[in-house]
Symmetry: C3
């Protein structure tokens, strides 16, 4: 089997990430001299991205490597998504996730039609999502959907024949957020991509939140299990008696990773290498925020090299006094989300042939 | 008189309509070996499209033929709307009609500025539409407007010097929906385009809804009268005592078409060749849905070859059990709306000269 | 010092301003044989435009001359904003200002991602603007923001490293509106650009509104002080006891311009050369409209050559009977806003090198 490969090139001219507050690990260091295995990425062509469960570790790694390459390469002039229309259907309103996807699309010269602010009319409430999916077939080439209902993904895919990227379905999943999360972690500690990770490099992962009812935390935990070779322990801190639910609890047990549940962050904080926080738990149409006991600020007893991740938006659980510190990996995480989504769009829409040949030579 | 003509070319590569559920008649069969009379279409240059009453049968036919050609031709690379800005002003929010127009524009490489979700601010409520029309003169090249008020079209055109496409004004009209409706019917039964239709090919047209207060049904009925040579009878089924109002009643009588009013679908259903349904009657700012007695599903006593049209969105009057049957012409109708609108945009903006010369040769 | 210069060229083909109602002074007459001093405009490269206080008279003049040149030149084919993404973040909803900016961007071939209708979700309300600013760094190249809160500009710029154009912050400022206002005045009376203005050409400027609480009026008054050499007197007509507030009152006094406060338009109307009106005073989240005593219509005792400006939207204080008269400079003012904003976007994003060389030769 011949493996098609990409290799990294020059920095994007319009971007100076070093101005950013917080930790900004170099994507080139993560990429190293690795080539990107296009045969792995091409398995995503034409596929919908609905759940982290569709991914194996190899695919996540190649996507993150491809994202790192996009972060360090000027590719706009190649118009990779030329002629493609992406439908950003945010039936649940979102500022940053929608704009992040739309920026990713426009930088690749794709086009956008959008439902930006959810269903606002009484008439609209009676429409079925499967009918809307049927219409979308005629309007675009790929759909990015967010919805307040967990079953919205099942509904729209009844008639939709375009690839769908799930950008958050109720209390279900948010798989591209998990890709952005792990893209940040892998840039921070490239050793985690290896099949065998030495014990001293393994991380203790803390999750402040409720994987069973928070979609971003749910997807993050599922993807973390793919990287179990690099994880020493997972500690879940939540005010809920059962923050996991039966399915996640079983997955976690079967993974063989040591894990603990706690409702006091101080029991584990000083040993954590990575802290993943989220503030918002969706409960049907409404939501609740993290209990005030689970806050981090500059005075928190963080391990010297610990990094904090947060899918944002944050409320007051993550204090801005941490922004200027090297614990802040959450800004890197947010910025990297553009490139992870670009990587996914190019893969699903099979536009590998539109990448700049000179900067990104493909092996035969 | 020299007639400029277009002829059909290759299929669009990115579209596989055969995957769609329901009936999907071939646009090439409708187009046949006919050429498109550009002299007819050029009469639309620079004009606003406000009502079906502006159209004669010849213009509808040439527009539908042009739409069929666009459905079967790859023209994006010709950038027909290059440099044109279309303003999609949906003062009444709409998901599918706005996205349909925007997809039509973007596929032709036009650009869009949009009011996607109606007037949401208190301040905005005091603005006059004629002032907004004056501003639009400076912002774009063509306006597509939907509004909750029937007189909105009169208001905005006081100062607007750009062409306006009425995409639904209160309980008034929705002329491009009627074009999409008849585009579907003509693809299904191309014989209806002829001046003389044999009696055995003439259709019995059933309308479930209230033309007098439903804009889509109103426009559909008006356009149907242009095709009277192919219509055996029109049966209107509505719970209203007077579903037509005086103007439509007079038009229908003057057309010479045999017609009946009924409030029981079962009196006529088994003889209908085409059933046009709509669910929503606007009553000022609010709306009411069709009575539960007027529903169709797979068990309904439909004629063997009958087809069902619906402008969508549907509520429960049109059961999804019909989706997988050959009675379903409504998905074709919805998909074809993109091409009908493309045809209209190219005509009104006079961009016939941007069509691909090799695929679409023009006679002299 | 070598001064780089631009000179005017042919009319834009798609625009026929002469159809407009009201007064439409020729931008070429304002431009005359002047060259545009790019060294002045280049001082705007990369800068945020937050307040009129950032401008001196020279910069306003060069921007208006550049706008006049854009109004009379076909430059779309040069794609001046190619590859640039502008974020139109209207946290306070706006129809015309947003569409005006977006039209300006698209005509220059820039791209847009947008928050069109403010914050609509409960979740969104908890987000901090400084976090949103941090995200914007990764999504685009320039931000245009409107917000209901005056301090929103301070908040978002904490983390934003892209240039920001303030398109209205609460009761604060609206500097690009003031540029559009003065662009209209300068086209109407080009003599006002000179350092020495003969007494007979000096204008009596009337302001109907409350500069202290109306952002457009505030910015207009501040910019007017830059043109004091052409102003004979400023009369402020307002129902408020103190329509200026201490800062503006001090600025006005220090300017040396003769000024009066009044609460009766009829005391000054017959002597005014320019009347600037506005209808809406923001009071925190709500607003109040101008008192009914301060209305103008065709019967008002206007000086023969007086012109009326209004940032629009208007309510009933400015009667449409004036639209068809030569007093109407407000439609010119509104249309010119597109070109003023184009001039600013090209300057801030430093895309002078993308202007068409043949039409706009640069001196060395």
């Amino acid at each position: 089997m011949v493996t098609e490969k990409l290799k990294p090139a020059s920095n994007r001219p319009d971007e100076n990430p070093l101005d950013s507050e917080g930790l900004y690990p170099d994507p080139e260091k993560f990429l190293g001299k690795d080539y990107i295995d296009l045969n792995i990425l091409k398995k995503l062509v034409g596929r919908s991205i609905l759940s982290v469960d569709q991914f194996d570790k190899k695919t996540v790694l190649e996507l993150c490597k491809f994202a790192a390459l996009l972060e360090t390469t000027e590719i706009a002039a190649s118009h990779p998504l030329d002629g493609k229309i992406i439908i950003t259907a945010f039936f649940e309103a979102s500022t940053r996730t929608r704009l992040c996807f739309e920026s990713a699309v426009l930088r690749l010269d794709g086009k956008i039609i959008s439902i930006p602010t959810g269903m606002v009319t009484g008439v609209a409430k009676g429409e079925s999502l499967s009918d809307i999916g049927e219409m979308f077939n005629a309007y675009g080439d790929l759909v990015v959907m967010r919805h307040t209902e967990t079953n919205a993904v099942d509904e729209i895919t009844k008639n939709l024949r375009l690839p769908l990227i799930n950008a958050g379905n109720g209390s279900g999943e948010h798989p591209t957020q998990a890709l952005a999360d792990w893209f940040a972690i892998l840039k921070w500690k490239p050793k985690l991509k290896e099949a065998q990770v030495k014990h001293k490099h393994k991380i203790h992962l803390g999750i402040l939140g409720t994987p069973g009812s928070m979609r971003a935390v749910n997807s993050f935990l599922r993807m973390s299990l793919l990287f179990k070779s690099g994880i020493r322990k997972i500690s879940i801190v939540s005010e809920m008696a059962d923050p996991l639910g039966p399915e996640l609890a079983q997955m976690l047990e079967q993974s063989g990773i040591s894990f603990s549940l706690s409702n006091d962050i101080n029991e584990v904080l000083s040993d954590l290498d990575v802290i993943y926080m989220n503030s918002i738990a969706f409960l049907g149409d409404s939501y609740k925020t993290l209990d005030s006991r689970y806050k981090l600020d500059r005075e928190s007893n963080l391990k010297k090299d610990a990094v904090v991740l947060h899918p944002l938006a944050r409320l007051d659980e993550l204090d801005p006094t941490l922004d200027g510190t090297h614990h802040n990996l959450y800004f890197t995480q947010a910025h990297g989300a553009v490139f992870v989504r670009q990587a996914l769009l190019i893969a699903v829409l099979n536009r590998f042939d539109r990448l700049p040949e000179k900067q990104i030579p493909l092996s035969n």
